[in-house]
């Protein structure tokens, strides 16, 4: 299936369908999620209304990690099988992932100050997420810095794959080290430990974020076709101009 859609024309057909579907799903899920976050879920018995920050904080943090995971898989596929579409996918995902990582840090800070009494703590969870943001930025800087596109793609793929180490640290930091941050309460072997009234808005928002990101990735991949066509037209023009 992977090599089936690595054909640009076939991918274009897929994207044409995927863009309106993911866009509509994201809109519906986010509206429902917002309604549940504010009107259909109670304040927490300890945290009061600050618990509503969770409904934007956790989905952002989850996207920060999921996008990185997807980027690393795409980079691996590109590195091994040389599918240029996989490289393009990794490239268009990077800035989106960086924004969601920054959002996870921002909303975490705005939740930490009233509940923990601090904006920031250099503990394992927070520091590793900051490193994740730096890896995203480094990935983008590396691509921009190397002129030879093929070489840039290959080096960026190596960086993305190496960065998986940090992704694992982000996930397990709360179990391996003592942290201000709480351990996982949704994705656990023994099932979620938070109440349904909070799990519903959280799940809807997280799914809404997922489809929103999928929409952005498909949309950007289609734009890339146009950008590349313009680029090759321009370089041909330059060659002819020089000749």
């Amino acid at each position: 299936m992977l090599s089936y859609f690595s054909n640009p024309q076939r991918f274009d057909v897929l994207a044409r369908y995927a863009i309106p579907i993911t866009g509509a799903l994201a809109t519906g899920l986010l509206i429902a999620g917002m309604y549940m976050s504010f009107f259909a879920s109670p304040p927490d018995y300890q945290q009061g209304d600050t618990v509503r920050i969770m409904y934007v904080h956790v989905p952002a943090a989850y996207m920060a990690m999921a996008i990185y995971g997807a980027m690393a898989v795409a980079s691996f596929i590109f590195f091994v099988w040389r599918h240029s579409l996989a490289d393009a996918a990794a490239e268009v995902m990077a800035p989106i992932g960086a924004v969601f990582t920054a959002l996870a840090l921002l909303t975490g800070s705005l939740w930490g100050k009233p509940m923990w009494g601090t904006w920031w703590e250099w503990d394992a969870r927070m520091t590793s997420v900051l490193v994740l943001l730096l890896v995203y930025l480094g990935y983008m800087a590396l691509r921009a810095a190397i002129e030879d596109r093929m070489q840039a793609a290959r080096m960026a793929a190596i960086l993305a794959m190496a960065g998986v180490v940090n992704l694992i640290i982000v996930k397990f930091s709360v179990d391996w080290w003592s942290s201000l941050h709480q351990p996982a309460s949704v994705f656990r072997f023994d099932g979620p430990t938070i109440h349904a009234s909070q799990l519903w808005p959280l799940g809807l928002m997280a799914l809404g974020y997922t489809f929103l990101v999928a929409w952005m990735v498909f949309y950007r991949l289609r734009s890339r076709t146009l950008i590349q066509r313009a680029r090759s037209l321009q370089s041909r023009r330059e060659r002819e101009g020089l000749a």
Binding site: T50, V99, W111, K113, P114, R220, L226
Partner: protein, 51 residues
């Protein structure tokens, strides 16, 4: 209504987090849409020169 916006005394934290998220996501959407529009305009420009 004002009770709703007060968020039990945590208004600036809750609305700050939601407002920041909404703003960042809206800017991302604008970027994604304008990227396509920009590429289309550039391509049209180049193709017109071609003729």
């Amino acid at each position: 209504m004002s009770e709703f916006f007060a968020m039990g005394g945590y208004a600036s934290w809750v609305w700050g987090a939601w407002g920041g998220s909404a703003l960042a996501i809206l800017l991302l959407i604008v970027f994604v849409l304008s990227e396509r529009a920009g590429a289309k305009a550039r391509l049209r420009e180049l193709e017109e020169d071609e003729d």
